[in-house]
């Protein structure tokens, strides 16, 4: 299939080759100008960027809170915060990082920007709903932040009853905030599922979908199935505090363990909301920078779906010592182990993809390697925690804290940074300084391990989490961990500086396909035009067919104002142009 006529015959479409220039005359950011155009835009790319800005802002706040926490733990007793302040700070750190940063990070920012481009659509299926979900996100964030002003929250991000039903702090505004954020997440998931089902361009079969799209599909399924349960749980908690309905509060005849079941029924699948999109990014990066067909495409794609589904059946592993029945614990432990299998499959396939590849260690690839390193440790320690007898010792210690930071931060956040560095040139049209980018990646890797590997040791030794004071023998480990956070902070600061610098006057202009990618986002201009393509792309090869000439990826059909794929076009008399 080296000529377009052969391709035409296969698809029954009159194809033309569209060679897109590197830079458009008017890109999406220039098409509608001014603050108002940004705030009222329904363009998925602008909405994605607004999410990116908001998420970066909240990550900055959450990160500052983390620095405060670690600084307070410099000494075993009071360093500079009092106990109540410390408890509020760790609650806010957790709630902000999870609900305002990790859950929306990749789907709402990078996913919003790239999913429609990757399927060749002009926008997501419901653009106005997409904008609405951004404003719902802001409203939820405002509620959550309002709770800081009115007396903070000191329950931990898990809001366990009966403590959360009785403490004097602003639990109601915080839970309402999270409740509202849930709807933003649901709407994004809904939009992605419909977009993937209904708006793919001709030729883009499920088997040719970039793996990032598959991972967002799996994520969206969890978002729409699990988030409503969290919403109703938080609603019940609000009712518990206001009307004292007595479902969760033992003082009123309720059952606190029931709350934990409800909470983890959402919040465990939510962990996969926070990691699956990361898997997608890593698949893209490893394929592009190994310049090789991804190994085990279907295994990677379907293992995401498997994780999404099995992920619904493992919530009880948070409760091995909580007072659920022994039988439940045993069943939950067994199922938990089986989530490990599809995760392992992904890791093996990624490594296999590098075999006999042509590996180029550019910045995004460094992040993918850091991801592999950290996430694998996070995964293995997850097995340790899923083991019943061992978890009895490790539950609610720093071992758990270290584990979920390896998975969430070492996994999702590193993947997010990888994706950001992969797609930054496409989004902004500018290339960042790669030397500084590699230095920052190295600092983050080092700082991360200093901070959190230490916490595995602390936890195994019995240091409980959420402790303001601790016994003296843990001090040196705590101090080492605190120093690690400074290295991390330095790394993130460098990233902020060179990314902003790349946008400035001296920034280097990026070409449309700096990494030689094959999926649709690399075929349009940099930055993309308002409706992503000036033609309707037709997909002939898979997104990882690097051995095929790039020309064969540039076929499409004329666009007629409305939408892209157009079944009636083969009745037209347009001439195809031979490649």
């Amino acid at each position: 299939m080296s000529t377009s006529s052969g391709i035409n015959a296969d698809l029954g479409l009159k194809l033309k080759r569209f060679v897109t220039p590197d830079h458009p005359e008017v890109n999406y950011a220039q098409a509608e100008k001014g603050i108002k155009a940004w705030l009222t835009t329904v363009d998925h790319k602008k909405i994605g960027l607004m999410y990116l800005g908001a998420i970066a802002f909240f990550f900055f706040i959450g990160g500052l809170l983390a620095l405060l926490l670690r600084a307070e733990l410099w000494t075993p007793a009071k360093t500079f915060l009092d106990a109540d302040a410390y408890n509020q700070v760790f609650t806010l750190h957790g709630a902000i990082m999870i609900f305002l940063v990790l859950v929306p990070s990749v789907p709402a920012a990078l996913g919003n920007f790239f999913l429609p481009i990757m399927v060749g659509a002009k926008d997501v299926a419901f653009p106005r709903l997409n904008l609405l979900s951004f404003y719902i996100y802001l409203a939820g964030a405002t509620f959550s932040l309002y709770s800081i002003v009115t007396g903070a929250v000191d329950t931990g991000w898990t809001f366990y009853t009966p403590y959360s039903a009785t403490t004097g702090t602003s639990v109601v505004s915080m839970t309402l905030g999270v409740f509202i954020l849930g709807f933003s997440s649901i709407l994004t998931g809904l939009n992605f599922i419909v977009t993937l089902h209904k708006l793919r361009v001709p030729g883009l079969t499920w088997g040719k979908l970039p793996l990032f799209c598959w991972s967002l599909y799996a994520t969206s399924v969890i978002q729409i199935l699990a988030t409503p349960v969290l919403a109703i749980t938080l609603m019940l908690l609000v009712m518990e505090r206001t009307l004292k309905i007595g479902i969760f509060d033992p003082a009123l005849g309720g059952d606190p363990v029931l709350y934990q079941h409800f909470f983890w029924f959402y919040s465990h699948p939510a962990v996969y909301i926070m990691i699956l999109p990361g898997f997608g990014i890593i698949s893209e990066i490893i394929a592009i920078f190994s310049k090789r067909r991804i190994f085990g495409y279907w295994f990677i794609a379907l293992s995401s779906m498997a994780i999404a589904l099995i992920g619904f059946l493992v919530w009880g592993h948070h409760m091995f010592v909580s007072g659920q029945s022994t039988l439940s614990s045993i069943v939950f432990s067994l199922i938990t182990f089986f989530v490990g299998i599809p995760t392992g499959i992904k890791i093996f396939n990624w490594v296999a993809t590098m075999y006999k590849g042509s590996i180029s260690m550019r910045t995004p690839m460094w992040y993918a390697m850091i991801f592999l390193f950290l996430f694998t440790i996070g995964g293995f320690t997850g097995v340790t925690l899923g083991t019943l007898s061992v978890d009895v010792h490790l539950h609610d210690t720093y071992y758990v804290v270290a584990h979920f930071h390896y998975v969430m931060m070492g996994g999702m956040l590193i993947a997010f940074l990888g994706g950001l560095h992969l797609w930054w040139p496409k989004m902004t049209g500018r290339m960042y300084n790669e030397r500084w980018a590699n230095i920052a990646a190295f600092l983050i890797f080092t700082g991360f391990n200093m901070t959190f590997f230490t916490q595995f040791i602390l936890g195994a030794k019995g240091m409980p989490r959420r402790y303001y004071n601790y016994i003296d023998q843990f001090q040196s480990l705590h101090q080492f961990s605190t120093v690690g956070t400074w290295v991390l902070a330095l790394g993130f600061t460098i990233i902020l500086i060179y990314l902003l610098q790349s946008l400035g006057k001296k920034g280097v202009i990026a070409s449309k396909n700096p990494w030689n990618g094959r999926s649709l986002e690399w075929l349009t201009t940099t930055p993309p035009v308002l409706e992503n393509f000036t033609y309707t792309p037709v997909v002939i090869h898979g997104p990882y067919d690097f051995h095929k000439p790039i020309a064969e990826f540039e076929y499409g059909i004329e666009s007629h104002g409305h939408g892209h794929h157009d079944a009636s076009v083969h009745h037209s008399n347009e001439e195809s142009v031979n490649a």
């Binding site: 000191d154 403590y163 003082a251 007072g323 499959i345 592999l372 083991t387 010792h393 303001y468």
Partner: protein, 313 residues
């Protein structure tokens, strides 16, 4: 494995601890082996298959079902083995022997109390005999707590309106720390207690002598002992500094104004009622968080604490 254990784990002082440690060691070492394997492969590929030119020809092999099955099935065997091991040990941790010695545990913000069958309640110190299974029957008076002894590798949540149990058998005498591991508010991290393991005859002796003040100890000194042991010092200072509750310094005989606007002079009756029924009179500027000590401190104990407070001028 012992060396690894001492690097990562606290000393193993119960009969079940060694099993847990062995499994922890097995998982950790297996993980390290597989992890290093992945790491070596990755680094090797980065070096061997380094990009030489943009026209490098790469492998077109994009799947191998046998390989996929192999790297799915081998981990399945491993995890089923680990699950089974963890499951049998978990049953051991969860089923106390029939002859276990029973102690009642009460958790409340922010202290522990241990009730013995002779009626004595030991605040924040759990005394147990060595070499005999001990079963703890636990309940909470307020919010969730979790009872954790790292050296024994046991932990269980303590829940209001419900009894939960853990058991252990200590294998050497000495002291170990008890933590609360379920977040429970301001002084969560100060909700510490000690478990003191005695030789059997020492334990019997302790049990016989326990309860009440040693004959030669002045009342106020005994009060001071209770002040530290029962957890009063977590919230009440003796140097005038403001913690969760009012300081004892200069408390006795002073006039206290309460949140409802009323006021009283802090005399014996007031202090006793504050210990037994703390929410009745809450001093203005403080939260109503103190738990009751009804059933934990005896009348004699309370008299001793009052004597001690009188001395804090």
């Amino acid at each position: 494995m012992d060396k690894l254990g001492s690097l990562f784990l606290p000393p193993a002082k119960s009969t079940n601890a060694a099993d847990v440690d062995a499994l922890f060691g097995f998982i950790s070492i297996t993980s390290v082996i597989i992890f290093v394997g992945i790491l070596i492969a990755t680094i090797a590929f980065i070096i061997i298959y380094k990009r030489k030119s943009d026209n490098d020809v790469t492998s077109l092999n994009d799947h191998n079902t046998t390989l996929e099955i192999v790297w799915s099935i081998i981990p399945v065997f491993l995890i089923v083995y680990v699950f089974y091991w963890g499951f049998t040990d978990y049953l051991k941790l969860n089923i106390p022997p029939a002859n276990a010695y029973e102690v009642q545990v009460i958790g409340q913000k922010w202290n522990w109390a241990f009730k013995y069958n002779n009626g004595y309640t030991s605040p924040n110190e759990l005394h147990v005999p060595k070499g005999r299974p001990v079963k703890l029957v636990m309940q909470s008076r307020d919010v969730l707590h979790s009872f954790y002894i790292p050296d024994f590798r046991i932990k269980h949540d303590v829940i209001p309106n419900r009894y939960t149990t853990v058991w252990f058998e200590a294998i050497e005498s000495g002291e170990s720390v008890i933590f609360c591991t379920e977040y429970c508010g301001t002084s969560h991290s100060d909700m510490l207690a000690k478990v003191i393991v005695h030789e059997e005859e020492d334990f019997q002796k302790w049990l016989k002598e326990s309860g009440g003040r040693p004959a030669d100890m002045p009342l106020a000194d005994y009060g001071k002992m209770l002040y530290t042991k029962s957890g009063c010092q977590t919230c009440h200072s003796t140097d005038g500094s403001k913690l969760v509750g009012p300081s004892y310094k200069g408390l006795f005989g002073s006039k206290k104004t309460f949140t409802d606007g009323s006021s009283l002079v802090a005399d014996e009756t007031y202090i006793k009622s504050s210990i037994l029924n703390p929410s009745e009179h809450v001093v203005a500027g403080f939260a109503p968080v103190m738990p009751t000590y009804q059933g934990i401190l005896s009348n004699d104990d309370i008299d001793a604490i009052i004597e001690f407070i009188k001395e804090q001028k």
